[in-house]
Subunit: 306 residues, 2 copies
Amino acid sequence: MIVVLGASGYVGQAYAACLRAKGVPFVGLSRSDVDYTKQETLTAFLKETRPEFLINAAGYTGKPNVDACEKDKANCLQGNAVLPGAVRAACTAAAIPWGHVSSGCIFSGTRPDGQGFSETDAPNFSFRQNNCSFYSGTKALGEEVLGYGVTGADETGVPQWNFLEGEPNGYIWRLRIPFDNKDNPRNYLTKLMRYESLLDATNSLSQLGEFVRATLECWEKRVPAGIYNVTNPGSISTHEVVALIEETGVCRKKFQFFKDEADFMRSAAKTPRSNCVLRTDKLRDAGIRMSEVHDAIRQALREWAR
Amino acid sequence: MIVVLGASGYVGQAYAACLRAKGVPFVGLSRSDVDYTKQETLTAFLKETRPEFLINAAGYTGKPNVDACEKDKANCLQGNAVLPGAVRAACTAAAIPWGHVSSGCIFSGTRPDGQGFSETDAPNFSFRQNNCSFYSGTKALGEEVLGYGVTGADETGVPQWNFLEGEPNGYIWRLRIPFDNKDNPRNYLTKLMRYESLLDATNSLSQLGEFVRATLECWEKRVPAGIYNVTNPGSISTHEVVALIEETGVCRKKFQFFKDEADFMRSAAKTPRSNCVLRTDKLRDAGIRMSEVHDAIRQALREWAR
């Protein structure tokens, strides 16, 4: 049996659907049944029920978007930085392996050498860099709470991010701007179609179903514990996604773009957004495949369901 | 009736002693009675009992010292950054005025103009500056969670720290290296006498009993809500404190000093320490007096009790 925390959320529901489809028994733990935010409560539950694996898909994202986190900082910190620590401690105490859904939004842009960020590059969109939204700050702090920190820099000067306490004992899976073929306010494609104006930026993205399948494969194949960027290989610009929306005829509106990021910040956003490219070779080298990002977007649009 | 959170801690016990001596009725809330870390639970308790004031003296400090916080990041964040937010939200919901014990350890050194830091200077020893211990990071984040943030810089270039949401509705009292006349592992004077070697640094300090009395006066006199540095006026170096220890004969050992901060970090510390000077004119101008720091140290040593 697998335990899923946050099973009623956008990501958690995708886990529930995938596990159901695979016929894997699981429990979607709700806080009203077991207050898993309390380390001792979760530990006792895990010791009693002895699941084979735990997935932490709980987190605080802000609704309708990340701006909302600026108004609810305590709960945002609790859900994204404190809870992962409690989950890890409880899983360690009960000897249950675990995986945590982190986010690629702790990065901005690309590395100085033009490459995407790898799992050993330190977050550059975080409290530590003093350039981030409160949401991104709490997600990066969540990885610190899970034992990661800066350990020097590589030859290009990029600070390196490593587990500081010996060997990592769980998975950190970085999701990045989830989308799939179902119209939903959390779906990136829905958001693009609903926003009045769009910001052109180049990003790595995660097809939600592929993300869930890939992360479960990490556990099934017993790939080494640690951080994995779980995004569709490659990167794509907002203009390219819009071209695919137009090409597939899913939405026939005339898309408007902000002039630039300054225009976007002035007119639409309260807090800076992460736009970034992540490398995915670690996941691929572990034998786990995801489809190329343009293909994944095209596929979702072809199967678009309202 | 006044509610004190964290009444069993070093600071909380001093509140309990002071309120008892004043004959002010109070309840030292314990988490096993009322889980005040849950916003709804605390709100319900406050609505039912309707105290006239709430003091949050709960916090996570690390034992025996701040290095321990590096090993328990989730609980440190919970106690110092999430809990203050829950307390403020519950007090707001129940319309109960409140005061929170923050820390001066979110600063390092002095301002560029050589002055101590005032309440409107932004913390310079914090996650945002990426130079701090995890403990200091969480305390500065706690003030962010309570509604403060950077709003530009003053004429000397020091970033300014202001309440971002209208008018502040509670007190933030900054304590700094507490001491008193009672031998205790949390007492700065005890620490100095027990450490093998000392780091020479100039600091503002808070005589614990005076801190508690001054903060209660804030409430009694209804001084305006907001941040107050509650330290004994002036600053003092470790060498000066040691000279007073020797002068009063409280401890006759030969005190050793580290060569410099690098030597200290190499041989004794896991994480950087805050050493800083705070201005105290805001408290004084509000009509609340504390004794000069050398006088306060001398007094504590004269009345030293093992």
